[in-house]
Every structure is written in C-alpha cells, then in structure tokens.
Symmetry: C2
Subunit: 527 residues, 2 copies
C-alpha cells in the first residue's frame, strides 16, 4: 500500500511547513483514519501558485502531442491504481467498490479523450486570413489566430465523484489539456484518495518529462480563498454547493484582476412526465424514476429533484405507486457526516413548509440517509418560492401536479437555470406539447427524452452546464471535450514571419489540422 | 434630413416618458445642437429590457439564414445613410468626413461578415455523438450539441468609433447574429448619430419581419446601471474606460444572477523597436510611428502608448527625431470636452512624475489636443508603477530605454494585459530575440510585426481582446467573427426525436453545415 504522507505537492516537492493537521474519516464508521494531512500555510499556497506560474511558459509551449502523451500517461497510472486504492476510496466515501471501479475507468477515459482532442487539433481554433495586398482602399495584412491556455488554474473537486470530478477529474484534465498548470485543492472528504491520485499524476508528469509545477495539490480548510485570490491564478474550476461556488465567484470578481470561474453548483433537474407516456407505462416510469432518485444515495449533480405531471387519475395512481416505491428503498450511507447533516436540514425545510406534503419515506434519523418523496403545490413554482429552487442533495424528490398544459409551461417558466431537464413522452405527447423543447432549452444545458439525467456521458457533445445557478457561466461545461474552451483564449498574429508562427498556423500545416482559411475549413498547405 | 425625435426605442415604439432632457454638442464649437433627447426613466429601462426579453424566444428561433437577411438589410440601410448623416456625425465627433465614410463601410461590412458567419454555420458548434447501443458496460445514448444565444444583451458603445463600435457596431452585430436581442445605451457623445443608426436598424428589422423588441435604444446618463442590473439582461458588451468597464463588471458580478461582461477597456499597446530595424530604417520608423500616434487624434484603443528600445547611439538619435516629429504635429480637436479634459489630466500625471521626462510637444492648452512625447525611466515598468499602465487616451506616447536584452524582457514582463504588442524588427532581430514572441503572447490579444497597431481588420482571425485590463475577459474579442462566441452557450440533446431536433443537428443535415460527428468533422448526412 502506498504511504500516505499528507504533505502538500508544490513544484514537484512535498511540503509540510504548517502545524495544523487535518484528518480523513471513515465515511461509514465516522472514525478518523490513521493519516495526518498538513494544512497548507499561506506561504505554501503562495508557493503552489508560483510553482504553477513558473511551469506555465514551458508547459504551454509544449506541443499538443506532448501534452497528449502526458494525459495518456496519467490515464495509465490511474488505471494501474489497484484494489488497495479502491478499498481506500470506499472507506473515505462509503461508495461501493463497483462504483469506484467504474469511476476509475471514467477518469482515465476522460484523460484519454482530452489526449484525442489535443491530437485532433480543433481546440486550437486555428484561423488564417491571408494578406490581400491589392485590396482597396487598404491592403489587408496577413492575420492568423489560435488559442493558448489562460495560465495557472485552481481546481476545487467535488465530494460526490472522488475520482471523476476531483484530483484528476474533468476540470484538471481540461486545464492540463489546454496547457494550464493546475493547483488542486484536495477535498476534505477524500484526502487519502487525493494523495493516491496526485501521486499517479506526478508519476505521469515525471515519466513524460513535464515541467515540475505542472500539477500541485494543497490540503486543508480555508486555503481555497488564498488560492483564488492569488495573482498567479488565472481561472477557477469548481464543483460543489451554490454557497461555496458563489463565494468563489465573488472573490474572483473582486480581485484587482478579475478571473473567470466555472462553478457547477445547484440543479434540481426537473423531469416532466407527459400524459400519453404516463398512460402507456406509468408503472415502469415509477420504478425507473425511483432507481434514478436513490442511485448512489442521490449524490449526483443531475439527481432528479423535481417531477412534474398533469393532474389526472393516472397521475394520482403514479404518485401513490412512487410513494410506495420510495418508501420501500433502504437507507444508504452518505459521503460524509456533513453531507448527511445537509440532507437532514434540506428535508426539514421541505417538511416545515405549509405548501409541501410528505408522501413517502421513513423518518430521517441515524447515520444513513432515508429516501423521501414530497409533493409541493404548484404555486411555489409559479410564485418563485426559493424552497424548490435549491437542490436537496440526497435521495429525495418533489412531485408537482399542474392543472393543465398552460400551467405546465407556467410552472417550468418559474424554474431557475438547470443542468438538465427530462421529458418522459410518447410521440402523441410531442405532438401535443411542442412548446416544451424551446422553453426548456432556455433553462438548461441538456435536455433528455425518455431517459434519466443521472449518468453523464463523457464525449464531444455533452453539456454539463447551464444557466445560473446550475453553473456560474452558461457558456461552459465541466464534462465533455468542450470543457477545454473554458481555459483557452485566442491570440492573433499579424504579418508574422513563418518560422516564428506556432505550428498550428504555419503555411505548411505541419500538424495536419483543419483550419478556417479565408472563411473556408481546410487542411491544405498554403503556398 | 431625418427628424431627430430624441425618444427612446422600446419594443418597436418611441417613448419619451421622462422629463430630463439631455443635449448633444457640436464637438468643434462646444455648442449645443438643436435636439432634445429624453433620458430614459427607470420604467423605460425596464420596458426596454422586457421588450428585448419578449423578443428573444421568437428571434432566437429564427433560422440563421433569416437572421443573416436581417444583418444584410441593416448593412444596406447603413450604406444608404448619406451626406447629411456624415455631416452630422462629423459635427458631433469632430472626426473628418473621410474617416466617417470609411467607418460607415466598416460598419456595414461587419454586419455582412456576421451574415456570412450565420450562413456558414460554424457558429453553431454542431457536434453529434451517435448512440452506441452495444457498448459495454453501458450503452451510449445519442448526444447532440449546438449553441444558442444567451438572451438579451446590453451594449454600451464607444465614443471613439461612433459607428463601428457603437449603435450598430461589433457588439450589436455579434449579439444580433447570436440570436440575442439588444438594448443599446446611446453614447452621450453622439446621440443624434445614434438615432440615425437606430432608425436604420429599425427599418431593416421591419423590412425583414423581425420581432419588435429585437433592437432597443435608450438615452441618458446613469441609465446604464439599471440596465446592467435588470434581470432580463443576460450579457453585456462595453467599449470604453477602465473605470467605466470595471464598474459594469462589478455590478454584473454582484447581481443575484451574475452575467458575463465583455468590456474592452485600457491598453497602452507597446511597440518594441529592435536594434537591427532601428539601424536599417530608424528615420522611417520615427515617421510611421508619429503618424500612428497622432492618427485620429490618438483616439484609438490600439494607439501605441509605449515605445521601447535598447540604449544605443541609434536609439538616442531616434528619440531626438521622434521628439522633433511629434513636436511638429498640429493640434487636433478631440471627440468631446470630456475626452479633452481626460487627456489634459493624463498629461498632467505624466508631467508631474519625477521619473518621467517631457521630450516633445507644445504645452497642452485651449480647445485642441497637442501631441506629446515623454520618456519614462525603465524602473517604472520593472517596479510596476501604475502611471505607465493606464492609457492616456489621445495623441501621446511614452518612450522607454532599456539597458540591454535582459532588461527588455524584464520590462515587458512588467506590463499588464494589452490589446496589442508590436515588434519592429529585421530578420537579425528575430534571431537575436527569440524570447519575445512567447513572452508577448502571454500579455496580449494580438502581436504585430513591422506594422502599427492602429487599424483593426474585421475578419475571422482578428483578436481585439487580451488579458485584463485590456479587457475583462481574455477569452473574448470585440472585433472579428469570434466575437459571436461571447453571446452563445451550448445545449445538448440526449436521445431526442429527429423531428424535434434543431436543423443543425438533424441526421439529414438540411443546413449542409460542417459538424463534429463521432469525433470527425463531416458534412455528411447520417443514416
């Protein structure tokens, strides 16, 4: 088993300058694990940011192929993390081994997909407008554009995906792909896991000859603020709560030099069950929806937190069936004590609200989360009541019954921004409710038909983003290859000598990439 | 001549609910022009934002081809603005007629270029990952991504380009192209000009059957704050001062729902004159640089405000020559009294600084701007003194003499973010100073060789952006077709029925656009 040193990762070295020790916890028993983690001092935060800044000029200047080799090497190292690693992650998070094994594959697969993007070269956004010396009234100079990394990126991982959204997760992968060194703030919920993964990253960096400082990691509470405010940091990736994400956004915006933050925060992921589908397969929908609500103890950003249907005999039957199914689900252990406490508080808010009824689920108590079903009056959506708008993170969902088609649109219009919306529908429903797609498109990053939002494919077309408060910037995504765009900026070269241009923009097109040449996509060499 | 009504443009109507009258001024004489402009009331600001929001669902749902027709129609209307219009713009801005005629062509050309982008279809960013039903361990759903407009955009035009960066300028053009209705805040420096252009826009909207509210315009001081804070506004485009731009950024970040702001603000556009070039053509460089510094009375975002060279006999001669040339330039009338006052204050700051020497130019006084040349000690850059970092908007520039090659890099490293940097160089210089391109690339949006930064081509490859404080977000540009990206966000469809997908994502590819299909660019139909 790997030794857990608990020291911060700064510029290729381990550092333990501070005296504050933080501990990791067995998520199931609540007992402290036998590892000491050294909370980074302010000087160590500074050193980590500076190490990333020092690595940036060399790292960003590497060819995309070299960076791709690095990402592939990280993937190999992550795949090589064995049973002892999986056992440790399970201990820190209470997630089942199968889930962790799957997440390991997702995490390495994500790295390899970004390596593909680097070799494909479309991330460069290469554009060439050749000189027009004879143009009247003025000649046009030769202009060429490509994209480079913003600079060092601070990444804050999520508790709920200790691998795929954490140390070597999507934010780190996309930042490294973009040519940005990373300073990662280890999540307090899985610091030993983070250490394993950081070691894998460092091994890959050493094997592929990356500059030291390309990846840095710090431990401890309260160190995030100093990191986000550090002048060397040029962008932030975050996955977590609305309050945490918004706090980082506010800090970043108030810096002498404001920097972009992509924070993936709060989403209740409405599922709309339309009448013909309810008629045709109400029982199956109730079972599938229940499975989605309690999957992974409801600890998904895309957990369906709101289920909307139109008043009918069928909907009443569906509601009863769903209440029974949810009530029958066993309790599950959550990621950590904090998550369980938040879940309890979220449930109390729902239970205390006069316009919300409790339909199913055992009383929340003890050390595990009890799945719950509620029903809220549609007026809460129509009037924009806050109680429905922030997610209750855990295995719970809220039913809404609307009076008719018009009220369905009105209720959906009352929603804030979301990561996802789902339509459960038959062809007859699509014919009857054509207004739903354009309406939901304005609210969300991803619209699904006849599926469930849990399960976020890592691919070119995925959007794991959406209008506020789902994220802090609807123009980004934290899953899928488009995530790299968050960390790139364009640079233009005017009348530049060929040999000084980056390869992506040379006439000879040595990378063989597609470029927009005088307004037309082309892989041709230029004369 | 068009009647100037001075009423706000709200949802296709003219509105003058307020009692505060603002006046436009003859820039040369300082006399008030005989037009009354009705400052928008808070209710009118609200109505304008709501009109844009009401137009958004219909406008964004139009085909890109229809939006392209609208932009082309705007271009035609702008081209049709005749001599009386040009005379009025000259009166409001003191810019010469030739410049305004050129800017008119640039503005209509910009609209037509965005129409091309819409027809080309790459702005959709269409991506398709087809279903893999047999994939193990889990099937992959069908996932498709395209981009839609963010929603209503507030635009604040610049004083220095009353056409190309104003009412129908690059921000408005890119927002309208993206499918975003616009609320434009007319610049107080050219409100009659704005009215002419707004009329042209409205005529084009009516001719092409656009929804009313696709373009709105409000007059007056202090109305911008209410506009940026309005919940219907989803993004902001701004060109102007650092203090003005930063204030808007701070407001936008502090909203209950933060929104993106692209503010193009302050840049001193360093020009580095390398030794071999200085040797080969020092006299010509002095003449060309002088012309660039005083062009348009120095009222360009890309005016070269800092000139850096290495200590030598040649550089001393160059400095003397430049001082003489700048001293010989006639004074010019600035855009308005406020600009002249700011220019005077900026000069006073430079004159008062103990480490800055005045080399050339007549004493600033009277109603016109006197071109000036200063020389600052390199320590100001090395130590990050603020005095050199904010632009002095007008016909002035500051020389810096560095001791040697190492100090040149150190001085350039001390610069904040810039729109442009320029190298005046011979092949021998490039061989001797290979460190400059990677260094400058980290500082700027555009690097030029052997040209001058004034003159910003409107094309696919242009970047008129750069790290803070040049802009508020280095990932954007306000000139060139990439400007549309600022106002687009991705949406993903999962397992969506063919007939409900947007045309850009249908199997049949009815738009004939290039899409990223399973990781490969393709224009093919899918089975």
């Amino acid at each position: 088993m790997t030794d857990i040193l608990g020291k911060n990762y700064i510029g290729g070295q381990r550092s333990a300058a501070g005296s504050v020790i933080v501990k990791s916890v067995d998520a199931t028993t609540g007992e402290k694990l036998p590892f000491d983690f050294y909370q980074a001092t302010l000087e160590e935060v500074d050193a980590a940011a500076k190490a990333a800044a020092a690595a940036y000029p060399a790292y960003r200047s590497l060819s995309a192929a070299k960076r791709a080799d690095f990402l592939d090497a990280i993937a190999d190292e992550i795949d090589g993390l064995g049973d002892d690693f999986v056992a440790l992650v399970c201990q820190e998070t209470a997630l089942p081994a199968g889930r962790i094994q799957g997440e390991r594959g997702r995490t390495s697969g994500q790295m390899r997909l970004f390596a593909k993007v680097l070799r494909r070269g479309d991330f460069y956004g290469a554009r060439i407008d050749q000189a027009l010396p004879d143009r009247k009234p003025l000649a046009r100079p030769d202009l060429r554009q490509y994209r480079i990394g913003l600079g060092p990126v601070a990444v804050f991982g999520a508790s709920n995906f200790p691998l795929a959204f954490s140390t070597a997760g999507g934010d780190t992968a996309s930042a490294l792909a973009a040519g940005c060194p990373v300073v990662f703030k280890a999540h307090s919920g899985h610091m030993a896991t983070a250490e394993y993964v950081a070691n894998a990253l460092i091994r890959a960096a050493e094997k592929t000859g990356m500059p030291t400082g390309v990846f840095n990691m710090i431990y401890g509470g309260g160190v995030g603020e100093a990191l986000v405010k550090h002048p060397a940091i040029q962008a932030v990736g975050f996955t977590g709560s609305l309050s945490g994400g918004r706090a980082l956004c506010d800090m970043a915006a108030a810096r002498p030099q404001p920097i972009p933050v992509f924070a993936e925060m709060s989403s209740i992921n409405p599922v709309v069950i339309l009448p013909a589908a309810l008629n045709a397969r109400g029982e199956a929908i109730a079972s599938e929806l229940t499975a989605s609500v309690v999957q992974g103890c409801g600890q998904f950003c895309t957990n369906p937190g709101l289920v909307i249907g139109i008043r009918s005999v069928q909907f009443t039957a569906f509601q009863q069936r769903l209440a029974g199914l949810i009530g029958d689900q066993p309790p599950q252990t959550m990621l950590n004590a904090g998550t369980l406490k938040s879940y309890g508080k979220g449930l109390e808010k729902l239970l205390a609200h006069s316009a919300i009824e409790h339909l199913g689920g055992s009383t929340q108590q003890g050390s595990q989360a009890q799945p719950q079903l509620f029903k809220a009056d549609v007026s809460l959506l129509l009037n924009g009541d806050d109680v429905l708008q922030e997610e209750v993170f855990g295995p719970t969902t809220v039913l809404i019954e609307v009076a008719d088609q018009a009220q369905l649109s009105a209720a959906l219009s009352g929603l804030h921004g979301q990561l996802t919306a789902t339509l459960i529908a038959e062809p007859a429903d699509f014919a009857q409710f054509p207004e739903l797609t354009p309406l939901l498109e304005q609210k969300v990053g991803r619209i699904l038909v006849n599926g469930y939002p849990t399960g976020v494919e890592v691919c070119d077309s995925m959007v794991h983003g959406g209008p506020y408060p789902a994220t802090s910037d609807a123009r980004g995504t934290s899953v899928g290859t488009l995530a790299i765009d968050r960390f790139l900026r364009p640079v233009c070269f005017q009348n530049y000598p060929q040999d000084l241009l980056p390869d992506a923009l040379k006439n000879a097109n040595p990378l063989g990439i597609q470029r927009l040449v005088d307004g037309t996509p082309s892989r041709e060499k230029l004369a």
